[in-house]
Amino acid sequence: MTRVLEADVCVVGAGAGGAVVAAELAEGGARVVLLEQGPAHDPDGFSARPPEMMAKLYRDAGQTATLGKPPILLPLGRGLGGTTLVNSGTCFRTPAHVLERWSREFELELDEPTLAPCFERVEAALSVAEVDPGLAGANAAVARRGAERLGWSHGYLRRNARGCVGSGVCAFGCPTSAKQHTGITYVPRARAAGAQLLTGADVRRVLTRGGRVVGVLARVGGERRASLEVRAPSVVLACGTIHTPVLLARSGVADASGQLGRNLALHPATAAFALMEEDVNMARGVPQSFYVDEFAGEGIMFEGVAGPPAYAAMSLPLSGEEHRRAMASYRSLAQFGLMVSDASRGVVRSLGGRPLIRYDLCDADLAKFRHGLVRLRELFLAAGAREVYLPLPPGVEPERAGARDLKLMAFHPLGTARADGRPGRGVTDGELAVRGVRGLYLADGSVVPSALGVNPQLTIMALATRLAFNLLERTLPAPARTDNEELPCPS
């Protein structure tokens, strides 16, 4: 038997994009049904133990991976909040040079003045503020010391946190609910405004008739596999960059642009460790509190990463006895990450209903990693490191590293249904409407047309805000001023 719900708008996915759209639409008076595939996580169950929390909070226990040269681990959050539940909380606005590129290459009318009210609204909703240096931790102090000695540009990051005490486990479920992920900010707002929320709803198809969307069909109820049909004249998909193109393909949505599933950017990343003289105790403080953007113009960004011993043991790029010896000095280990604004592009396809991700690192990005690793080692040595552990096999120097030598992860998939203002060129148009299906919109990283070079959650949320107000046919209200000061963009 199929249960039927009716709504003005059905939103699929309660992460960075979907939760924002649902809340803004519901508060604007629309009847909204919000469907989320994952569960609502109870923070009482957040144990601060990485393996257990990866199993609970991440899709496939964080083991989503790309095929290609090299394979890249791509952990994705699952549940109310989506990946905002497990990210580091770093908030950057879309850099101006990226917006200029979008205007030039994709004819998107998304300049800074257009997006500023959206950013301001999101930042106010998420309590975005610069990390208090007192909470940044000794791991950040190491990077700061190195950057200052080298004269490199750096700063404390802005984050969506309120009442943070530096528990050190942002990526494994914030035990204090200080991180203002969308599951505890926008989703409650949506519900308070009357949106109907269903978790455990696995949307199988987008329903269309005569070239227009009429709703979605989902499986609900876990093992019992009941069916749910949501009838709505507007549908917003926000399943994430990896799963939105799979759902569109499975639904038989025509893609005249030929771009569906293509143009995948990831911001591939890696991290190095250093053995310091001092007590670092990297799990104390905000894990991602500090950045070094000296090489942002070259597409290389350094950002803090850190975690408890089980996390460090998993990430430490050493083997056997060397690994054991380094872990015995865990309290003196520092770690910092290197993220590349990638020119490489991958593809997401559907295989048996699951995404198959192909991504090969291009030579230009390999060169960025080589250069970045040299610079990261320089940063640690300038900070006084006794030893630096680069994520490379024994005996491989960064200048000679090949793609297969790199140990990469990625956290920012973007672009698989990219927006393009030119007729017939993108899966979505400049208003994030899917071309060829009236009433169908996208609101996640899939619409972001290129790598950003910075963490994308704020960009996705600002675009979602803009979409919601366009659907309501209303102008964004002037933002209430907050304590947001000057906003950081990489140089």
């Binding site: 923070p43 226990a61 035990p175």
Partner: protein, 85 residues
């Protein structure tokens, strides 16, 4: 192996789960470990997995200054006191 680590393995898709179990089994045996040393990537992955399992043990983590239970309890208490979700 901790219950949490077993839970982690169980939640992974079957190809990854199988791969991780094989790598860990090899790393625990002298001949298997010697075999792994021929492949730096496999050796490092196996070491990472064994390391994550080893340091997920609360007693071992406490020796390094990390008390997950205390962090979780403090979080619950702060949420209760400050009325957070």
């Amino acid at each position: 192996m901790s219950a949490g680590f077993e839970f982690f393995l169980h939640a992974a898709p079957w190809p990854q789960r199988l791969g991780m179990r094989v790598l860990m089994a090899l790393a625990r045996r002298p001949r298997g470990a010697a075999l792994l040393e021929r492949s730096p990537l496999a050796h490092q992955t196996a070491t990472s997995l064994l390391g994550m399992s080893r340091y997920d043990d609360p007693a071992r983590a406490r020796e390094l200054g990390w008390d997950a239970t205390a962090v979780a309890v403090r979080g619950r208490e702060l949420r209760r006191v400050e009325g957070r979700p």
